[in-house]
Amino acid sequence: MTETQPKDATEPIIKIVGMHKWYGDFHVLSDINLEVQLKERIVICGPSGSGKSTMIRCINRLEEHQRGQIIVNGTELTNDIKNIETVRAEVGMVFQHFNLFPHLTIVENLTLGPIWVRKTPKKEAEETAMMYLEKVHIAEQAQKFPGQLSGGQQQRVAIARSLCMHPEVMLFDEPTSALDPEMIKEVLDVMIDLAEEGMTMLVVTHEMGFAKSVADRVMFMDEGQIVEQNNPHDFFDNPQHERTKLFLSQIL
């Protein structure tokens, strides 16, 4: 069993080995290999349809891979539902469309996971929730419902909701692309704070400014493969592959 692998300092928190995925007959991800160290911050970019979302959604099994291995914090993702739930509790995810629970207040959104998954006492969960709401500068909205908040505020709540589970890793799937320009900054600021505190992050985004200032590693995906990865300096100034060059010339 791979469940209790040693967790020494160099053991990657996420390890993907030879992973393939198909949607029906469509080979969407091909031979993905990736190791993410604790506290590493990775930005993933690439053209639309290149499989960025699919790849990070495989990491918490929102999508199922068909070949290869994905090991998160020592737990391999298999069909074992217990393993899947363990991994999901360790991995936070922030979606493009926030996906807050509209029938619950903001603070209830934040305490739902801790109370039911982590079995945290309600009061303690609420205190933690308020702490994270302070952190994303939105504590005064705690008793409102998601529908009463702006997009930027909702996305910050969504980030806080993930943080309340004390995840080891945070996945972001285009967290700012559904937002109006003036709200993008407030969300990015929160993400930058998070990065500075040492959170392990995988971020799919087109915000290249964010990539340059925060990422340890930038990764370019095309047609379901990781084409190129490098530190931001070399990635932007000295891309190796034609496809990367073309992509960068289009978005910068």
């Binding site: 539902i81 739930e85 469309h97 629970f101 029938h103 739902l112 996971g113 998954v117 998601p146």
Partner: protein, 363 residues
């Protein structure tokens, strides 16, 4: 974030809306030529219908007299109701024991009214209901504390209607939700079972289900074994209503965006938690209006049990009318029944509207 500068622009009061009866009339009833025409026509029709009805129902009518007194009047003979109220409401419940079904009905109504506030729904209320139902059952059936046994065959009138419809709705709702979940299940056996069940039930009228339960079903039972007739009718009503609820709830489940499932999955909630805490509360709320529609028709459909010789409140009224003394006054009796049904249905639908409003969270 910087604090916005103190606003310097002027804030005006919202314009005052025109009030007063004339302005209201002009705005709402006579705002253009066809609305004016409709208003006039409606008024004419009302003038034609309302005064004669009013005269019949209230001026020329008798309220609490003998049947003989009614022979000589033009108006309504409401006397049929007070004179026969005991039989219409309680049917064949034995003489001297009438307090039992009345107490049971009062108990049921008070529990329903107390449970109206959804903020009161908790474990204790659940136990209160269990206790209440046991007491009601005991009151109706008897056999303890010196209360003589009253077989279910003698249960009739309003208590029977209330029982069939209340348990019909309360049991059909969760069953319907389970069927809807089953129909969306990834397990082929469960899914097929639910689809077949739902489609079969929806393919036959309630009357035929009631017939089956009262005539065909006993044929399959081993000799000497019987299942209570009222219970069989009750089960038929529950099974029938549940199939319809299931389809409505399935619609609500389909309306849930995938993001809601993904968000709860990514928090590590398991399937049951996801359903219970995230999906069902939203899906069931969306389908409150059609669900109430189904519950209302289930309530009214309980009167179909007459065809298997159960005496619900409609049947006891009919029996009253077959008494030669009262034969001519069916209009009055049926109006009384209609009002009774209307009160119940109206209470349910206005309650559902309030529940919808309470649960609205601005999205």
């Amino acid at each position: 974030m910087s604090v916005p500068e103190q606003a310097t622009r002027e804030y005006l009061d919202a314009p005052i809306r025109k009030i007063g009866a004339l302005a209201w009339l002009k705005e709402n009833l006579f705002n253009n030529w066809y609305n004016s025409l409709l208003t006039v026509l409606t008024l004419l029709a009302l003038c034609y219908v309302v005064p004669p009805f009013f005269k019949w129902a209230f001026v020329d009518s008798l309220w609490n007299t003998s049947a003989e007194a009614c022979r000589d009047i033009e108006g309504a003979c409401w006397s049929i109701v007070p004179n026969n109220i005991k039989f219409i409401i309680l049917g064949f419940f034995p003489e001297g024991q009438e307090w039992r079904p009345i107490l049971a009905m009062i108990l049921l109504l008070s529990l329903v009214i107390y449970s109206k506030e959804w903020t009161r729904w908790n474990k204790y209320l659940g136990w209160l209901w269990v206790a209440g139902l046991i007491v009601m059952g005991t009151l109706m059936y008897g056999g303890v504390f010196g209360m003589p046994v009253v077989e279910t065959a003698q249960w009739s009138g309003l208590p029977l209607t209330m029982m069939l419809s209340f348990f019909g709705m309360v049991a059909a709702y969760p069953l319907g939700v389970l069927l809807a979940l089953g129909r969306r299940s990834k397990m082929p056996a469960i899914k097929t079972l639910c689809v077949v069940y739902i489609e079969m039930i929806r393919g036959v009228p309630l009357i035929s289900l009631l017939f089956m339960s009262s005539i065909m079903f006993p044929l399959f039972l081993p000799d000497g074994m019987t299942i209570d007739k009222v219970l069989r009718a009750q089960v038929a009503i529950i099974l029938f209503t549940a199939a319809y609820i299931a389809e409505v709830v399935r619609g609500g489940l389909q309306a849930m965006p995938r993001g809601q499932y993904e968000a709860s999955d990514s928090l590590g909630l398991n399937f049951r938690q996801t359903m219970r805490l995230v999906i069902l509360p939203q899906a069931l709320k969306i389908v409150i209006p059609p669900t109430v529609g189904i519950l209302l028709s289930a309530f009214k459909d309980t009167s179909l049990v007459v065809i298997i010789a159960l005496y619900d409140v409609l049947k006891t009224t009919k029996v009253t009318l077959s008494n030669p003394k009262w034969t001519g006054y069916s209009t009055e009796a049926y109006i009384f029944l209609a009002v009774l049904y209307f009160i119940c249905c109206y209470a349910m639908s206005s309650y559902s509207r309030r529940l919808e409003k309470d649960l609205h969270t601005g999205h």
